[in-house]
Amino acid sequence: MLNLFAIADTCFLIDWSYWRYRDVLFELFKTVFIPENVLREVKSENTLDWITSNLAKGKLALYTETPDIVEFATRIMEKSRLIPGLRGVDLPEGICLAVGKRRGYFVLTENRGALMAVDILEELSSVRVWRSLEVIVEAIKKKLIPGNPVDIFKSYEEDTKHFFPRRELGVVINELRGETREVA
């Protein structure tokens, strides 16, 4: 089933836009929102072309943050800095997390602070945060990308110079292989 909405931050989009299977994102979500500040942060022709053409198709949409979202994001920023050892969340990620909480959107980010915040801050525990790792897993489970999972993840690393932590990659590869065996 297609998930409805996601909100993606810059650090996710600028790597994802270079991947050969990048459009699979739109087979997983009806619409992916991007905060307006993303447009100020992207410069390359590749990323701008991909973003603007998909804005035109309605697969991407701009999200204009409202004062209540900014207020909530600011509180998340502050809370993240009160817990020793917890990586601080900055405002751009805070806005995505606030939207994830208030609107129920999936949050697409590579930011470790955002991942830690939903794991540790009770208030955010219902927010679903996906990195490229989780998005690719979902696409593989739905058979949206052909080929061996190991090769698919390798293609992402090659195209984007992203590195999946081997411990976590090993876990998801084993899970995917287990699912394949069960189906067989």
Binding site: C11, V42, K43, G85, R87, E110, N111, H162, F163, P165
Partner: protein
Amino acid sequence: MNKINYWSMLEEEAREIRRKSADWKYIESLPARLKFALKYYIETGDLYVASRIAGLTIEEFNELRKKAGVPNVA
């Protein structure tokens, strides 16, 4: 292991990967702002703040970290 310790362990592993992969000769050759922004990024993995230090957009800094051989570990 409690959650904070678990995340600290993951952070340290990611930091080591960034440190070992980096092209330090190239990094040291850069102007101060870019050099220190990359060093900050290697230590923290924080693209947003690193880009502010560098005076670049996030995507511009992302291209710089690729040029410096520093992977985005996530």
